[in-house]
Amino acid sequence: MEPEEIRIGVYICHCGINIAATVDVEQVRDSASQLPNVAVSKDFKYMCSDPGQALVRSDIEENDLNRIVVASCSPRMHEPTFRNTIQQAGLNPYCLEMANIREQCSWVHEDKASATDKATKLVSAAVAKALLLEPLEEKEVEIKPQALVMGGGIAGIQASLDIADAGFQVYLVERDPSIGGHMAQLDKTFPTLDCSACILTPKMVEVERHPNIDLLSYSEVTEVNGYIGNFTVKVRKKPRYINMGRCTGCGMCAEVCLLKGRIPSEFDLGIGKRSVPYVPFPYAVPSKYTIDAERCLFLTKGKCGKSPACKEACTADAIDFEQKEEIVELDVGTIVVATGFDLFDATEKPEYGYGLYDNVLSGLEFERLVSSSGPTQGKIVVGGKEPRDVVFVQCVGSRDKSVGNEYCSRVCCMYTAKQAHLIHEKLPDARLTIFYIDVRAFGKGFEEFYDRVREEGVRYIRGNVSDIIKKGDRLMVMAEDTLVGEPIDVEADLVVLATGIVPRVDVKELMRLLKISQSPDGFLLEAHPKLRPVDTASDGIYLAGCCQSPKDIPDTVAQAKGAASSAMTKMAKGKVKVEATTAFVDAFICRGCGRCVEVCEYGAPELQEAGQGVLVSEVNDSLCKGCGACAVICPSGAISMKHFKNGQIFSQIEAVI
């Protein structure tokens, strides 16, 4: 059989003026037309548009093209688009090569002559590789109809409920003893003033009751392997020292604990106190107790009175000091990451006196103070007195380069307005002042709420607070009113800092666990900022909520539903095509040394007996991820990487220089 004649079509995209302003597109097109085997070379305003794609398809048919080069944006953007285009015209999707002349050329260079020269070289490298491209077969793998949801805040709860309602099994893993997340700590929610607990608890209960949701609370994901459709996940269930099956949640153990009322409650941010056995808050799900192993006298010192009072008091015999941690293995097809955020640590801004003065609170601490389920039953009391003057400081840890956070946390303007309103409601005579940089009231009903709060008499002063100092038992807030350009001092009994949202302290560990990236602000990186805001670069892993960027509750819920929908789309289809770019072994050259077996992280190559004590390596396609490390280590050159063969890259190198 005669080898197929290679006929290449080259398409140079103007991308409006994004490319054409810096790169002489016609010149690139003409140079490409001179290259060997190029049958067609054209330029077009927008290659990704319908007419652009139609042009490629009709050229393939009319000119018998069998390899296509598109010079446009990054292949990370439109490679799937054009693979699909040429597939529609009957070509194998791997017969496409892209030249990145936008992100890596026109957008980063200014001189038109040298940018054009670079674009020409990038195109000739793509043509050189196209000449050697081989059609590849895409394998289909099954997607397990189970999802892992990491994090049980409102994002994880919503994603779990949606996926479970669609009929798929969900494993919801939450590190704390209860689901609920930060939303459970809030009092009222802006701008509608719904009580946070009232709208959250029904969903929490639904999670617990749902037949398709397996809730693993007080547990952490420690290992994730595999790929879309077939992830294997290890979860560490921390010992609660309470038998979950027996505990009735009666609370007798906490009642009799020797340390009752002496341990700062994490949920109340230290404002309230708890016992060693605890539920984080009254409406916790699951409503079971957990023994704080780090504080328990019996677990740390081996002795608690004569014998632990909690064990004696528990009529259900649920306390089990022998409990050990447990590792659970799960097989899932998709993963939703909903790990949430941390609150900015206001001690990083020492000028505000946070941590130094008891009457300087973070935004979340104030939520606990004002909450009717909080340690003061909602009474706003500071140092035993109701405050008469309250000052709020906006943008604490947000929009602040000095602490490394350039971004806006998106919730603080509105939660401050809400908190001012709550004080006004409870203490109508209190004088309320808010120092702000800009008020961002962009959401549905936000501007109206902001107006309402101003009409209630809250004083908004545009200006940066420079210092908060002690003045008797009150505070002095010193600032500059930037609208009139004059310094202003305001006395206060209580200062509330509008602390912003920051990435979780362990975000790096999470990135390593899931092999996903972070954006410059430190939050987890989506696959595309506009068009794939819930996907990650790793197929089958989706983002929901504040782990991706700061957002309020409705935006979080919307994204959680989006992430759930992405996961469900894949699972409903049941199958997914995996990259065909895997390693393969030339059995005639392989001498069976096994170096590839040693270097592979996934156990893809295996030595097989090829008769009479002769060993050759064989690659299991479904295990191979296509990194290519084996092709580098192979001493005899028997292993190649499909689509990234030595010869293909050599010809790219020659052409690009």
């Binding site: 936008r102 990194c627 290519g628 490390a629 092709a631 890259i649 220089i657």
Partner: protein
């Protein structure tokens, strides 16, 4: 000394971190010299010494290999494997008289568009200082 010399630099960037970082430099419109042309590989663990030698043989004045930061590799540890291979390759090109200063390995994450541009600027200057690798007459 090497005024007017525009070095020819080949870059190998991994798909997941550094190629994305280079794309981010573009999206953010951060400028850097056009001397570098990037060849995309899925992982720096794919970069064999032969790619480096082929680049110099074809007339490159410098080669930049860029991958994920240690611990961030999409394929667990391909970047660390690359680091070992590059150490050996540097020794090799030194022996061959190419000079190890013409090869650089850098870690650039998907969020470090600015850093990618800085690395390219700095490396381009370094190669400009070193001068052309092959004189035109030899090439």
């Amino acid at each position: 000394m090497n005024k007017g010399f525009e070095p020819n630099i080949v870059g190998f960037a991994c798909n997941w971190c550094s190629y994305a970082g280079a794309d981010l430099a573009g999206t953010s419109r951060i400028k850097y010299p056009p001397n570098i042309k990037i060849i995309r590989v899925m992982c720096t663990g794919r970069v064999t010494p032969a790619f480096i030698l082929k680049s110099f043989q074809s007339g490159a004045d410098g080669v930049l290999v860029a991958g994920c930061h240690p611990g961030d590799c999409h394929y667990i540890a391909g970047n660390l494997k690359c680091e070992k291979v590059m150490e050996v390759t540097k020794r090799l090109i030194d022996i061959l008289g190419i000079g190890k200063g013409r090869l650089r390995l850098e870690w650039v994450s998907a969020s470090e568009g600015g850093r990618f541009a800085d690395v390219v600027k700095e490396f381009t200057e370094q190669i400009r200082e070193l001068g052309p690798f092959l004189e035109k007459s030899q090439g």
